[in-house]
């Protein structure tokens, strides 16, 4: 237990070697500030990737038929999908919902063909749900409720098939038991700026898809939440409510490539932050060890006066506490303006992406906004105090081991 006088003792001891204390505090401050900025970037980047994946169709959560994740079989359909949709819409924290069915198909125009996945959508919900639709340039228009025999394709498909607006395409889709064909008119050509996406977008209305292939209902219900941090809790809640034979997956399972990429980035940045904190911690340990060696006689006197070893440890850890507090304040002063700029203006990484605008079927934002919140304060004090206190454990242990008689013999 640390008393008032010991607390004062620890605080005032920092003024004995003011230069060393200032250097320690600044060192801890810079290290913690780098940790804050790294996390601001990591979490901002993670949020950006989650947003990109979820808004590109995957949603934060997706309700699918049991077995779809393992087989990716497009002929599977949701069980009692209208009930599932109603359950989803009734959930708290749900921002938007869209539902789709998919089928493997072949587009043909004259003697030119292109194979792809055809998506049957609800136009009204897809228009506000899918950033591939609302963030991209579009020639013509997107699908509308009530459209029949209409389709929207990506710019790259149009280029390959050499077609334009109002051209009629033959679409052949694998149906329930046989191949089905229909003639659809191009009403819109989407230009995402990504060759990958522009060669894969082929949207028709869900009712057209149901009619052509003869399988009713959607394959998936995608859900966007107001707060991505509630993905797991909402998933658990939803799983209890869903009709049997349906299940719920997260964006990580829908977009595994992006999720793996995000995890890799996060692990690298965390490692970097850890190395920084470790280096700073070793610096602090070195400074504390020097201080303990210099004050060997003083600790011997304390021991001679009967100060228990645990209180000597507490004294040194309290000294570290003050360095940690100073370090946290420096860290906040150094990182807050940069983190604020990062969070408010973002960093445009399009130059680093080399013109790539998509990854794993997801339309990526070229601007990453840092994550800034109250966590910065907890992080600054938590990391700074933890690093200084952890770095002081060994010097503190050495100090309490000092033999008082031996220390008193030294002049």
């Amino acid at each position: 237990m640390i008393g008032k006088t010991i607390f004062k003792y620890a605080f005032r001891s920092q003024a004995r070697h003011i230069r060393r204390t200032v250097l320690s505090v600044v060192g801890v401050g810079i290290g913690t500030a780098m940790g804050i900025l790294a996390n601001c970037w990591i979490w901002g980047s993670e949020e950006m990737q989650i947003r990109a994946a979820s808004e590109s169709g995957a949603g934060h959560l997706k309700v699918i038929p049991v077995g779809w994740l393992e087989t990716r079989e497009n002929s599977l359909r949701l069980s009692d999908w209208e009930k599932a949709l109603a359950e989803v819409r009734a959930l708290p924290g749900v921002k938007r919902v869209s539902y789709r069915a998919r089928a493997n198909g072949l587009l043909a125009f004259g003697n030119r063909t292109s194979g792809m996945e055809v998506t049957g959508v609800d136009p009204d919900s897809e228009r506000v749900f899918n950033r591939i639709v609302y963030k991209s340039g579009i020639e013509g228009r997107y699908l509308e409720a009530g459209d029949a025999d209409k389709l929207v394709i990506g710019r790259e498909i149009a280029r390959q098939l050499k077609i334009g607006l109002d051209d009629d395409l033959m679409i052949t889709i694998s149906g329930k038991e046989e191949m089905k064909s229909a003639m659809l008119r191009v009403v819109g050509i989407i230009d995402t700026g990504s060759r990958e996406l522009d060669s894969s977008v082929c949207h028709i209305t869900l009712s057209d898809l149901e009619r052509i292939i003869g399988i009713p209902g959607p394959t998936e219900v995608s859900i966007l939440l107001n707060n991505y941090k509630q993905i797991e809790s909402t998933r658990r809640l939803l799983a209890q409510e869903l009709p049997e034979k349906n299940t719920v997956i997260t964006w990580k399972e829908s977009a595994p490539e992006l999720a793996a990429n995000a995890e890799g980035d996060k692990a690298f940045m965390n490692l970097l932050a850890l190395i920084i904190v470790l280096v700073v911690g070793l610096g602090i340990m070195s400074a504390q060890l020097t201080a303990v060696m210099e004050r060997r006689r003083e600790f011997g006197i304390l021991s001679a006066l009967g100060m228990p070893g645990r209180q000597i440890v507490a004294l040194i850890l309290t000294e570290a506490f003050w360095v940690g507090i100073g370090g946290a304040l420096i860290a906040l002063a150094l990182s807050a303006p940069i983190a604020y700029r990062l969070a408010s203006r973002g960093v445009n990484i399009s130059a680093l992406m080399g013109g790539v605008k998509s990854f794993g079927g997801v339309l990526i934002d070229p601007v990453i906004y840092g994550d800034l919140g109250w966590w910065v304060i907890w992080y600054a004090f938590g990391v700074s105090l933890a690093a200084t206190i952890a770095a002081s454990l060994y010097p503190a242990w050495l100090a309490q081991k000092i033999d008082p008689a031996e220390a008193l013999r030294r002049v």
């Binding site: 008393g3 008032k4 006088t5 010991i6 004062k8 003792y9 005032r12 001891s13 003024a15 004995r16 006689r297 003083e298 006197i301 021991s303 001679a304 006066l305 009967g306 100060m307 228990p308 070893g309 209180q311 033999d403 008082p404 008689a405 008193l408 013999r409």
Partner: protein, 235 residues
């Protein structure tokens, strides 16, 4: 539980201490027999290297004997571990060191309070510290840090720190070594007064003839052995 064999505070039988520096053995005490009773004012004298400081360190539970038996306040010190020794020092012993050894970042009052705080004294420790400083004529220095005081004043604060919790035994290692004549006199009178008024027992090592004059009992160590143990009327 710290006991007390009647009036006997310190009892040493065949006490030896040998320092080992690698393969070299340096004997410091070679079979010291000694008894100190409550309320005594004892001076340990002898040339440098005679074992004065070693004897004080052993009695103060700062160091361990190599052989023999040493009982302090009825407690056999050889049976105490590191933590128990620290507890004995904290609760029952007071120390005054040659170089004052006050905590430089604390004021005189805080230095005294510090030890009281370690002993678990609550809010009243501030009043108690003020009381002791006042009693030893140090009130005006209560809020000064050690570097703002003379050597004599610092040593008096060190005595205040040592006696604040009314220990049964105060050990002082060459307490006047760094003091001029006047300050040495003031310090010795103060210690005598504490012994007279509170019955504290003082054992101090010294080279200083002025200190010896104040002692009621003078133990002379030579080459690690008690050469003389004399009682005389103090000046």
């Amino acid at each position: 539980m710290i006991g007390n064999d009647g009036n006997l505070l310190v009892s040493a039988r065949g006490l030896t201490k040998v320092y080992r520096l690698g393969a070299i053995e340096a004997p410091a005490l070679l079979g010291v027999d000694l008894e100190v009773k409550s309320g005594e004012f004892v001076s340990i004298v002898g040339p440098s290297g005679s074992g004065k400081t070693t004897l004080l360190n052993l009695i103060g539970a700062l160091d361990s004997a190599t052989g023999g038996e040493l009982r302090v306040l009825g407690q056999d010190l050889s049976g105490l571990n590191r933590r128990e020794r620290a507890e004995l020092r904290l609760k029952y012993l007071g120390f005054v060191f040659q170089s004052y050894n006050l905590i430089p970042v604390l004021t005189a009052r805080e230095n005294v309070e510090f030890v009281l705080e370690l002993q678990g004294v609550g809010r009243e420790r501030s009043a108690r510290a003020g009381e002791v400083l006042n009693e030893l004529g140090l009130s005006e220095f209560a809020d000064r840090r050690p570097l703002e005081m003379s050597g004599g004043q610092q040593q008096r604060v060190a005595v205040a720190r040592a006696v604040a919790s009314s220990p049964k035994l105060v050990l002082a290692d060459e307490p006047t070594a760094n003091l001029d004549g006047e300050n040495a006199e003031i310090l010795l009178h103060m210690m005598r007064r504490l012994r007279d008024e509170y019955g504290m027992t003082f054992i101090f090592s010294t080279h200083d003839p002025r200190v010896v004059e104040h002692a009621e009992r003078v133990i002379t160590l030579t080459d690690g052995r008690v050469a003389k143990d004399e009682r005389h009327a103090p000046a």
